[in-house]
Every structure is written in C-alpha cells, then in structure tokens.
C-alpha cells in the first residue's frame, strides 16, 4: 500500500514540477520578447532616418534617446555602437543579437556625436544624441 502511494506521489511531484518549469519557460519567453529591442530599434531608426532625410546641411538634430540608451546598457552593448551610419544606412543596435537598418536618401554628411549629452532631470537622467548634418565633400 505504501509503495503504491509513494509511486502516485512521485508521479504527482513530477507532474507539478514539469508544469511549473513549462509555465516559467513561457513567462520567461514573453518577458524577453516584450523587453526585446526589435520594436525600439525600428522606431528609432525610422524616426531618426526621416529627420535626417528632411534636414538641410547646417542642421543640428538633438534626439531624446533615453530608452535605447537604457536598453543597450541593460543588454551590455557598447553605447558608442547604438547608432551608426554605414553606406547611407542608419543602423540602430540595442542588443548583441541583431540590428535594424534604414536607408537614407538625403545626400548629406551625417556626423553622429561621439558622446551622448546627459541631462539631469528631476526624475532621472535624459539622454540626447546630437547629429550634425553637413554638406558632403565631393
């Protein structure tokens, strides 16, 4: 009788443990997906890309990048590599796994400031990225 009871209890324990592991895996997946950088990367790439496309030489753009800065910091990303311009493409990368690109058609010289401008506000820091739009050297 005891042996049979032990067997049932063992099966129950395995059943509960498997369920807990499985549902934790699902929760972990959803949390990772929701804090993922993909949507933010796309949003900032397109927002900054359109600003650059519409800008004239001599313009200084200052964009609030607090969210991507914090996300990159959380993902241990080199913050100097979050925003890059390669072959007229604006690349935004907030995690090590992938990056998002957006094509720019404006034929200008885009200079991204090497350092972020951090402004101390009452409820935390705000991070700004300065982008200088200059004339392209022919």
């Amino acid at each position: 009788m005891n042996k049979k009871g032990d067997h049932y209890a063992f099966e129950e324990i395995i059943f509960v443990v498997l369920n807990i592991i499985y549902f934790f895996m699902l929760i972990f997946f959803v949390i990772r997906a929701s804090s993922g950088a993909y949507i933010s990367e796309q949003f900032y790439a397109k927002q900054i890309g359109l600003l650059v496309d519409g800008a004239k030489p001599g313009t200084l753009l200052s964009v609030d990048v607090t969210k991507p800065y914090n996300t990159a910091e959380k993902n241990n990303m080199d913050k100097g590599n979050i925003f890059r311009i390669i072959n007229s493409k604006l690349i935004v990368q907030m995690s090590g796994s992938r990056a998002y690109q957006y094509q720019i058609f404006n034929d200008v010289d885009v200079k991204i400031a090497p350092a972020y401008r951090i402004v101390n506000e009452g409820n935390g820091n705000e991070v700004f990225l300065d982008i200088y739009i200059g004339e392209k050297n022919v």
């Binding site: 499985y22 699902l26 993909y38 796309q42 690349i91 990368q93 990056a99 690109q101």
Partner: protein, 162 residues
C-alpha cells in the same frame, strides 16, 4: 481518485504544446509589428524636390542643360540607382513647352504606385504627387508636377549588399 499514469499522459503533453504554441505565436505576431513610414518619406522627398526646383527656376531647361538633380537637390545617386527603393518623376510645363517626364530611381515603382492607389495593397510602395506653379524672373509660369515613391521598409541589418 486517479490511477497510476492518469497525470502524465500524451494528452497532457498535447495540451501543453497547444497552450505554448498559442502564447509563442501571439507574442511573436504582436512584437514583430512594423512601423510604416513610406508615405511620410515620399512626402519628404516630394517637398525636397519641389523646393529644390523652385530655387532652380531660372534654368527652365535645366534637366536638358545637364542639370544634375542628384547634386542640386541633395539626393543620393548611389541610393537611388542601387537600392531600388525610390523613384521620382518630374514633369514641367511652361506655356506650350512640355518637358519630361524625367525619371530617376527604380522605374518599376511607378507602375506599382498606380496599382497601389487603386487597391489596398500592403506590399506596394507609397506615393506622393505634388503640383506647384513657379514663376521665373521674366514672368514665365512653369507648372511642375513631382511624383515621389518610396518602398523603403527598413529591415534587419546585414553587412552584405549596399
């Protein structure tokens, strides 16, 4: 009272698989959404070209005279000729003189644009058409029609290609 083997059945694993698949699919669909900026981009492009042509009003035969729209309007020639994401068509009418259409970029997008205007087509490019009358110093009126098309959706970055 359950019997041995009632809990860990194939049906239970089936239920787990269905629930898991539902959650994974829902999450992936929700977070892979796309922000479509092609219409805004085509508007920016059309505005840019209109402003640029307005400044070049004195050279009415500008395109025939070797006017380089890429350098004058600050549009990247490489991007237009290699990426196939953009298209611009310019028509100029001055009195009886009809110039154009002058086309730049991926010509296939012009047709796609016409089709996309009539049907709700998600994968067709977005287009902006702008008309403006500009006046030369001698009083000549030049009617300018610009069609700007963008199919720039952005995407995952890879090192290859343009």
């Amino acid at each position: 009272m359950y019997k041995k083997g009632d809990l860990l059945t194939i049906w239970w694993f089936g239920v787990l698989a269905i629930v898991g698949l539902g959650i994974v699919l829902g999450t992936v669909i929700f977070y892979s959404g796309s922000v479509d900026t092609r219409k805004v981009e085509s508007e920016i492009m059309a505005d840019k070209i209109i402003k640029c042509l307005n400044q070049s009003v004195e050279s009415i035969n500008f395109i025939n005279d070797g006017f380089d729209i890429y350098s004058e309007c600050l549009i990247s020639k490489n991007v237009f000729e290699q990426s196939s994401l953009f298209f611009v068509r310019i028509n100029l009418v001055s009195g009886d003189l009809n110039q154009g259409p002058y086309k730049f970029g991926n010509n296939a997008l012009e047709k796609d644009c016409e089709v996309g205007e009539n049907v709700n087509a998600k994968y067709f490019p977005d287009c902006t058409q702008e008309n403006i009358d500009i006046y030369a110093k001698n009083g000549n009126k030049i009617s300018v029609n610009v069609l700007a098309v963008s199919n720039n959706k952005g995407g995952a970055y890879s090192n290859d290609g343009l």
